[in-house]
């Protein structure tokens, strides 16, 4: 076992990432042949969602069931003794008696790290505030690898709110392990934070721009994210920007035939629905990627998959 918990993408070396992607690939193949697998038979996953995130929770639950294990847990803190003021540490100390692995989502940053320190069983972070969501990053990488058969050599654009977007921060960091060219496309004021650019700029080529149209012809992957309205003090300013980052058929006229569009979902209006049916859309396959990747992570931390 190479790691006992999955808390932050910053804990992952390139080897660890490759190991997860490879394991996910093997599991996906086996799953297609056999249907449900039995690696986690008799094992129990506790999903502790202190804030709701139905997609992520369902993805983990699906992964555990497909590994032959079972699931307990809660979907929001208001239904538990947390509401009565129980500390996170006490919740963890209680739940670890019922389960073999914990998946935690919590609104406070650092909650997953603390949970992992307290718990005797493995902990997987399913999002801690604005900090980390490492399984999302791993499934993003897995999707890219599946779509192209590789990650090295690709030109990848990250689009949208790069300032506050947790997903794009982790993804940029993880992609810097590969031989890629990155394009950070953001409206003025929502650019990628300097410390992230500085951290990775000696490892990968980076182009920063606010003009999507100008990079469309060059790129292999367009990773779109939501621009949150509430980030803008002036609604008129938002409306102006909103249009310029809408991925529609018109802007795709200049794209490579092999371009793949990804999105962590849910989308609002960054990608128009007409794009769904085109060869470019990879975002629903990206959702599926979450299952084999989370199966791999569960299997690895449980010690049932080598």
């Amino acid at each position: 076992m190479r790691f006992q918990d999955v808390i932050s993408i910053n804990d992952f070396e390139k080897d660890d990432i490759e190991y997860v992607l490879k394991t996910a690939e093997l599991l996906e193949r086996e799953l297609k042949e056999k249907g449900t697998l039995q690696y986690a038979k008799g094992k129990v996953l506790a999903t502790l969602f202190f804030e709701p995130s139905t997609r992520t929770r369902l993805s983990f639950e699906s992964a555990m069931h497909r590994l032959g294990g079972s699931v307990i847990g809660f979907a929001e803190a208001s239904a538990t003794s947390v509401k009565k003021g129980e500390s996170l540490m006490d919740t963890i100390r209680t739940v670890e008696n019922y389960a073999d692995v914990i998946v935690i989502r919590h609104p406070k940053e650092g909650a997953a790290r603390l949970a992992a320190e307290v718990a005797k069983i493995p902990v997987i972070n399913a999002g801690d505030g604005a900090n980390q969501h490492p399984t999302q990053t791993l499934l993003d990488l897995y999707t890219i690898k599946k779509e192209f058969g590789k990650i090295d050599g690709l030109k990848i654009a990250l689009l949208g709110d790069l300032k506050y977007g947790r997903t794009v921060h982790s993804l940029a960091k993880a992609l810097s392990y590969y031989n890629v060219k990155l394009y950070f496309v953001a409206p003025p004021g929502l650019e990628m934070p300097r410390h992230i650019v500085e951290e990775i700029s000696d490892k990968v080529d980076i182009v920063e721009t606010s003009n999507l149209e100008s990079v469309i012809p060059e790129i292999d992957v367009l990773y779109a994210t939501r621009i949150q309205k509430e980030r803008f003090p002036d609604p008129a300013e938002y409306n102006k920007i909103k249009g310029s980052y809408r991925v529609d058929l018109k802007i795709l006229e200049g794209a490579k035939e092999t371009l793949k569009i990804m999105h962590p979902l849910p989308r609002v209006d960054e990608i128009s629905y007409e794009v769904d049916k085109t060869r470019y859309s990879a975002y629903f396959r990206q959702v599926w990627s979450g299952v084999p990747v989370r199966m791999a992570l569960l299997g690895i931390v449980l010690g049932v998959i080598e």
């Binding site: 500390s87 996170l88 406070k108 940053e109 650092g110 790290r113 603390l114 801690d128 900090n131």
Partner: protein, 150 residues
């Protein structure tokens, strides 16, 4: 001249080579008991620093934690332990690789503000001082660190 200043107490701790103007801040973070006997010298001429502050604490030997605390705002400081008018131990303060419990995290949404856990930071740069919260992974720079001393 220097010898005279350092050995002017019978037993206790002398914190020397504090950057000029930081003396009061050092005193503040030491948070000594109200009845402590303390001597402060401000803007003393120094060969090393040009000007420096000195603090003498009568009757108290500072712990390692307290010394580390000083390093965060006065990295040039030296700590002299005095017994029977003599310097029995002299140590440079040094920022440790890890800082536990001395500073609180500047991120208001950090779990350390909500659970009974000691804040813990990894020192990612000593000069300029830069810390990374072990829990929320947010980094803090010198100016913010000084404001978040516990």
């Amino acid at each position: 001249m220097k010898e005279l200043k350092v050995s002017a107490i019978h037993k206790g701790t002398v914190i020397d080579h504090i950057p000029s103007g930081k003396g009061l801040k050092v005193l503040e973070i030491l948070n000594l008991p109200e009845d402590s006997t303390i001597l402060i010298a401000v803007n003393v001429r120094s060969e090393k620093l040009g000007k420096k502050d000195i603090i003498k604490v009568e009757g108290k030997i500072l712990s390692k934690d307290e010394v580390n605390k000083i390093a965060l705002i006065a990295p040039t400081a030296t700590v002299n332990i005095i017994d029977k008018w003599e310097v029995v131990e002299k140590k440079n303060v040094e920022v440790p690789d890890e800082i536990i419990g001395i500073i609180k995290c500047a991120n208001p949404n950090c779990i350390t503000h909500y659970e009974k856990v000691k804040p813990k930071f990894k020192v990612i740069s000593k000069k300029p001082l830069k810390l990374k919260c072990h829990y929320c992974e947010r980094t803090m720079e010198e100016e913010i660190i000084a404001k978040n001393l516990l």
